[in-house]
Subunit: 280 residues, 2 copies
């Protein structure tokens, strides 16, 4: 047992999966949820997935040994500040936001001295959202990035690392800025591109779609509000990687509207080499 | 039994799957392959997947009731002409090329009068290639586009339709030009985009890749030579759809390097609506 009481703020796909994994692996004794009471949350209470649920942070975090914030990225920083204000001074606080620099940097000076906070991002998820898709094995073998900062209590990193390893994940430390530049390439640009591709499909061509189009656009099924907030918090890195992407595509055709065969062959060969290196 | 002898030119993923499906569903009595003798082809012969195999077209098509050409798109037209020159005049000829206008139009005037030819494209496949990935069920419930032309014998369309239905597929007729404009959106642009995304991934970020990037770039594992030839034969439609795509992406940022929130929200919402309409 790592934690007596674990509080999860935002019990959706990720928060719910943390609850299930923590229960299954004995990482936490008592699991408390924070969020609006929904039918799904009532169900989770009835099935013992969580032990209690509160609509407000205050009563939910007073006893917590650790609080994991799993809300949309534009809510996280304010909630961390609020949690730090009503939790014990030794309560561990972390988050699962898909962006890190905006969140972590905006907490500097807003958290009490010695706050045990470290930013985090589990590289696991789905285009689906909601507690009904929660999965106790979502984090097994997956990587969680932690983004330590000198401004917070240094022992939070080791404790949150132990927590995630307890859920079956691997942990890697990066600076918030390096994390954001990386996910601009690995996640944010692919999402934008998938949405643009899906958006171009006229209804009368739907019957012509095969597995390639389905795969390439799958992530476009994600929640537009969540993604708008993510893009906003990673605007500069997204812009940079989008520019590079558009340049590479633009060079496929020369000025005379003909394919530039040498560029095209290089682009396809590099794409295949990199994709093959990832495995299936 | 629809065909006494079926000849498949190019026994790879698609050709091999046709052989397996035709055997499993009793669509053909004798199945003859055309292609270089490889270990996999020897294996296919030994296991009775095909009954005979020839390196050359001549001896393989003399007896054929139907010939399906499953070679790369830049080989198809010339092979169809050669087949028509050495097969019976009533032999049905079709192909499975991913482009249609270039192939079909380049056959006008090169095939004998009354040739029983119709172009075809089964919308099924994989980023994998090779006989070892052949699957008897590859075409079950999938759509095959046929592109009839007034220049060839009209009864070929009905016969090839019956053939594909025998393999479990559905059939739709389109003009070669409509087909090519459609697959530029549903297949060719997604492939180009997936390759460009995969090509941008530095080796040191591979460990940060999760299922989203894998899905979005899966098709980039396809054979660059096959795809270069496909893009060349659909240059104009690809250019047009790429321009539209680049424009939609470019508008995500305004001149001041800030996200254009109203465009972004619209793009994400439309992408989700269209992707959700496809189902998983």
């Amino acid at each position: 047992m790592i934690l007596r009481t674990l509080t999860i703020v935002g019990v959706g796909l990720i928060g719910g999966s943390i609850a299930l994994a923590a229960r299954a692996r004995g990482v936490a004794g008592r699991i408390v949820g924070v969020g609006p009471r929904s039918l799904q949350l009532e169900n989770a209470l009835q099935h013992g997935m969580i032990d209690a649920c509160y609509p407000e942070l205050g009563p939910a975090v007073g006893d917590a040994d650790a609080v994991v914030v799993c809300t949309p990225v534009d809510h996280i920083a304010d909630q961390v500040v609020e949690i730090a204000g009503c939790a014990r001074s030794d309560t561990l606080i972390t988050d699962v936001g898909s962006t890190k620099a905006f969140i972590v940097n905006s907490l500097i000076g807003r958290l009490p001295g010695g706050a045990r906070f470290v930013g985090g991002h589990p590289l696991a998820g789905s285009e689906k959202s909601g507690l009904q898709f929660a999965d106790a094995r979502l984090f097994e073998g997956r990587l969680v990035v932690l983004t330590p900062s000198d401004h917070f209590h240094p022992d939070a990193v080791a404790a949150v690392t132990e927590f995630w390893k307890g859920l079956g994940a691997r942990v890697k430390e990066m600076t918030p800025e390096d994390h954001d530049r990386a996910v601009a390439i690995t996640s944010h640009l692919p999402h934008l591109v998938a949405a643009a591709l899906a958006g171009m499909l006229p209804a009368d061509l739907r019957e012509l779609v095969a597995s390639g189009f389905r795969d390439t656009t799958r992530v476009a099924g994600g929640d537009p509000c969540l993604w708008t907030a993510i893009f906003q918090q990673n605007e500069a890195a997204l812009r940079q990687t989008l520019d590079k992407f558009q340049l590479a595509l633009g060079r496929c055709f020369n000025d005379g509207d003909r394919l530039d065969m040498s560029h095209l062959q290089k682009l396809l060969a590099e794409g295949k080499r990199n994709r093959d290196a990832l495995g299936s």
